[in-house]
């Protein structure tokens, strides 16, 4: 069998997904035996013009990580889509917007103002902001346009498969490699992770299903065997897809939802609000108000990784 042609790309991302691919350790040799890598900015020196010169559909699989928030990221997403037979939305940013989609609760203008003008580490007396075109003595410089909102990969191009996680675990990446090696690909649209929620695979004991106070992680040292939610910590397990191996739970930290919602759930955050509300013992308006008070950052907790993919999506849904 001819070797597969594999591309990996990072759009609005931190590089953790790329490193996760290397975290499969010696199995990376299996990937090398299976595929020739034709584009991977973190590791290999291919340029955009190399990709542009490729024939359409000449890349077998593209693992695309990162969210889409600029004209460049959208252009590369569309370019790689055209060149690839199979497009994989790789990691929480590409799948749901990820941590960068927390920016959807603010605006491009507010971000620019903070990052380039107000931040205490800046020295910018002219209040210069990045421009898409800048005239310099030698000619003109161009920067991509930064969009008003963060988009998921599937919101800008068609995607065949989704591999969630911040970052995807080595086990899941190996699942993808195995599926490619044996040519046993799941149905289009499949999410390569568990089908059930994290609660379903969580090793902790669940008893009461009722809480009367929500606590923050610095306020208690949680018991290591008992459900974190029952101990009053907000845990996103009830509304989050499993398949991560309960990594955070095993180190006594509640889930923050990086695997996104399970199938059929329209909005992970709303599902989580519903889960918490159903177990919180509030019998009158004052107690309901207390619960609301105790949840200090609902948007950033319930939509930690999923703002771009939620019903809320963004403060202002527009590119320009």
């Amino acid at each position: 069998m001819a070797k597969l042609k594999l591309a990996l790309y990072w759009a609005g991302a931190c590089g953790g997904c790329d490193v996760a691919v290397l975290d499969i350790h010696e199995k990376i040799l299996d990937v090398a035996a299976l595929a020739d890598i034709v584009f991977w900015p973190i590791a290999l020196d291919f340029k955009y013009h190399h990709v542009e010169a490729m024939q359409d559909k000449s890349i077998d699989v593209c693992l695309f990580n990162g969210m889409v928030r600029s004209s460049e990221q959208e252009h590369i997403a569309k370019l790689l889509r055209a060149k690839s037979k199979t497009m994989v939305s790789f990691g929480s940013c590409a799948c749901f917007g990820g941590i960068p989609a927390l920016a959807n609760f603010t605006t491009r203008g507010e971000i620019m103002q903070r990052a380039y003008i107000e931040a205490p580490s800046n020295e910018n007396p002219g209040k210069t902001l990045p421009q898409t075109r800048t005239k310099v003595a030698e000619g003109e410089l161009e920067l991509p346009e930064l969009y008003e909102s963060v988009f998921t990969l599937a919101q800008v191009v068609d995607v065949e498969y989704f591999v969630p996680g911040c970052p995807p675990t080595a086990d899941l990446i190996l699942k993808v490699v195995d599926a490619l090696a044996t040519n046993k690909l799941p149905p289009v649209g499949a999410v390569i992770a568990a089908d059930k929620t994290l609660c379903d695979e969580c090793p902790r004991k669940k008893n009461e299903k009722s809480i009367s106070k929500i606590v923050r992680s610095h306020q208690i040292i949680p018991e290591s065997e008992r459900c974190l939610l029952e101990q009053g910590m907000i845990c996103c397990g009830p509304a989050t897809r499993g398949g991560c191996g309960a990594l955070c739970i095993k180190v006594n930290m509640p889930c923050r939802g990086c695997f996104g919602p399970t199938a059929g759930v329209l909005d992970q955050g709303a599902k989580l609000v519903s889960s918490i509300a159903s177990i919180y013992q509030a019998n009158n308006d004052d107690e309901v108000a207390r619960m609301v008070e105790e949840i200090v950052d609902p948007a950033g907790t319930f939509y930690r990784f999923g703002a771009a993919d939620s019903i809320l999506r963004t403060k202002q849904l527009q590119k320009h």
Binding site: C14, G15, P41, I99, I111, G139
Partner: protein
Amino acid sequence: MMKKVTIDPITRLEGHGKIEIFLNDEGNVENAYLQIPELRGFEKFCEGRPVEEMPRIVPRICGV
């Protein structure tokens, strides 16, 4: 108009970058610009979030 050499993207490092090199009539480098075509806005969207959650948000500035 000077000749322009564009290196895009710069590779084998963490992050995104583009280099524009302008050549003069002799073909020598007149000037070069490094551009960072990305902004996510951690400076802004971390504001107002619980301090105890920061260790789970800011590692995503750079995961390499």
